[in-house]
Symmetry: C2
Subunit: 346 residues, 2 copies
DNA sequence: CAATAATTTGGGAGCGCTCCCATAAAAGTG
DNA sequence: CACTTTTATGGGAGCGCTCCCAAATTATTG
């Protein structure tokens, strides 16, 4: 049995309260007493009991990272591990702990129920002080619930509600840069493979595509727009649908989809970038490893994760400082070979 | 303020204890009372307070997944997301929650301290009922501590201690199959790129390599063994070192390293598989996507994760059923193009 | 139908901590 | 140096639950 506060107190010859003060860095303890108590703590290996503490303080120092079921299939996309690393880093830095909720679509009868159940247990059971929600579809029921229950949360991505805090990248501008680059290279029949259009990131990137064309006075040919789902397979299928309309360039809303698209193009006997230029989005590590290396829009994924946590912890530690927290990080066009420009020549 | 047990009790006209019985499915409650209580619970949205419960029961229904700092840099390796999915799935299925501890090497002054701190807080603070430790180096200080503190844990990978529970794949046999396959194809100068040799998985795969050669009476040329670190970059560096010794085949102890090796071979003007055959290990999704598709040893990564959790939960729920829990899952050779055999022809 | 056994219910104690308030000790003041 | 102010310490109450035991109710049986 590990020691309790009370036991430490007895050993140090002081009261429970004094030990508590020492542990919680309360200033009003005489230095020699403080030292004596620390000594006992060190010797006994005392550690406050998390549950007891939470019960009394109503805080857990645990935050949740929720990745809704709709995107769990994408989990092999390196986007998520990188995001998680950012999240975990920031948690470590602030001495918070991370609870991970992934909802898989497998082995679940009534999938809605699984997510519901977990929501109910974890959030209403006050396991968590707050949550980071990553890339949920915009109609995910989690948002209304979080708002209603008053759970502090930060979204990675954006969400149109006056009380929603989020961290996002400028998807519209990123996409526009990508398409503008293709336009600059002389392409006119530029297709796009979008993400699932029930996500803002996907909508915004499509919007960037539209804006770039509009700025050049090029009418949008709806045949050149195919909806994907951010996965490689989705990219393949979408590319297949685009093939008959003979685009000379493709802007894929994720690197994974770009990779899929390139495969389909090759299978159709087309060269990348000679016959068709391809640009991706994300700049995952794979982007520089595939052949040809992918021109893509870099988003600071890891930073997105840590920023979300910083924001959340800020809200938790000074709740009075109300207001809505929103951060939009910039993107950057990374030019490699797949768009058909020699980097040096640019 | 969410309702408490006591409040629900008052509304239902029963005592605290009775509501507790209803919530915990205790049989001794009259059906009509049970129904009445459920009704109130439903209406009020009552949810037991996790911390209060833990304090009383000394269980949290939370298990930890610990990925020690030594491997966090490998986190972009798809191995981890896949493992995590397995772990998360099994947790969901058993109504446990998952706490994730990643230790990054970045931003840490005294890195040992960070891991220590977290160990101290999380484990001794009894946030967790038990932990799954993934791919830690065999001298990681976490193992002695877990054993000493009596924290229930399951390792993914193996560990030589009579009280260590683990789930592993048969790395020796897997590696042997891979190398035997190369031998069967007529190769004699077979090099290997090992993982970091402070991990058992790496040692075991090297052992499999040695066994395969020994079985054929081929002496091991130590120049043909290069230590990598499971990353692509590590694979490149190792391959560079091997190049002067002109192997005709390479067995890389991970797919990521195989990918790195292939790049180096190409840069050296060698064709894969024509000039040098390459075999990997893991069968991550990338393996079938690269060019040429990788012949590799498949290990059931996701199953490894869920199995570890199942074992752990088993231990937690019936602690009296002592004994050591060990599972070794089989591997499977997946033949693709990189070893230079036409699949059909086999 | 009294006596016994089984089932159902309520309340006290306690899990280990924090926080408030009262008291004790030390320091500051005219 | 009596008096107020500040600083340090101890103890009670309570966070929301479970678990045990005793009391009340119901069912069983000779």
């Amino acid at each position: 049995m590990p020691p309790t506060l009370e036991e430490v107190a007895k050993l140090a010859g002081v009261s429970r309260s004094t030990v508590s003060r020492v542990v919680n860095q309360h200033p009003n303890v005489r230095p020699e007493v403080r030292e004596r108590v620390w000594e006992v703590i060190r010797q006994t290996g005392y550690q406050p009991h998390a549950a007891a503490r939470s019960l009394a303080t109503r805080r857990t120092r645990v935050i949740g990272l929720i990745i809704p079921q709709a995107v769990t299939t994408l989990f092999t996309d390196p986007y998520f591990p990188i995001l998680m690393r950012g999240v975990a880093d920031a948690c470590n830095a602030h001495n918070y702990h991370l609870m991970l909720s992934l909802f898989s679509q497998r082995r679940v009868h009534n999938s809605r129920t699984q997510q519901d159940l977990l929501y109910q247990q974890v959030l209403r059971g006050r396991y968590l002080d707050g949550v980071v929600v990553s890339s949920a579809p915009l109609d995910d029921p989690i948002f209304p619930r979080l708002l209603e229950d008053g759970v502090p949360f930060v979204i990675v991505g954006r969400y149109p509600h006056e009380r929603a805090n989020y961290v996002d990248v400028d998807n519209v501008v990123g996409a526009r840069m990508a398409v503008e680059h293709l336009l600059r290279l002389g392409h006119e029949r530029i297709a796009t493979i979008t993400g699932p259009l029930n996500m803002f990131a996907a909508q915004d990137r499509l919007e960037g595509y539209r804006q770039a064309l509009a700025a050049r006075g090029i009418p949008v040919d709806e045949h050149l727009i195919a909806e994907g789902d951010f996965t490689e397979q989705g990219g393949r299928t979408a590319m297949q649908r685009l093939l008959p309309y003979q685009p000379t360039a493709v802007f894929a809303a994720s690197d994974m989809m770009a990779v899929g698209a390139i495969k389909v193009l090759r299978e159709a006997g087309l060269q990348v970038p000679e016959d068709v230029a391809v640009v991706g989005f994300d700049d995952i590590p794979l982007a520089s490893m595939v052949d040809p290396p992918l021109t893509t829009v870099r988003q600071p994924i890891e930073q997105l994760g840590s920023m979300a946590v910083e924001l959340l912890i800020g809200m938790l530690e000074s709740p009075q400082a109300g207001g809505v927290h929103r951060v939009v990080l910039p993107t950057e066009l990374v030019i490699r070979a797949s768009c058909g420009v020699r980097v040096r020549a640019l």
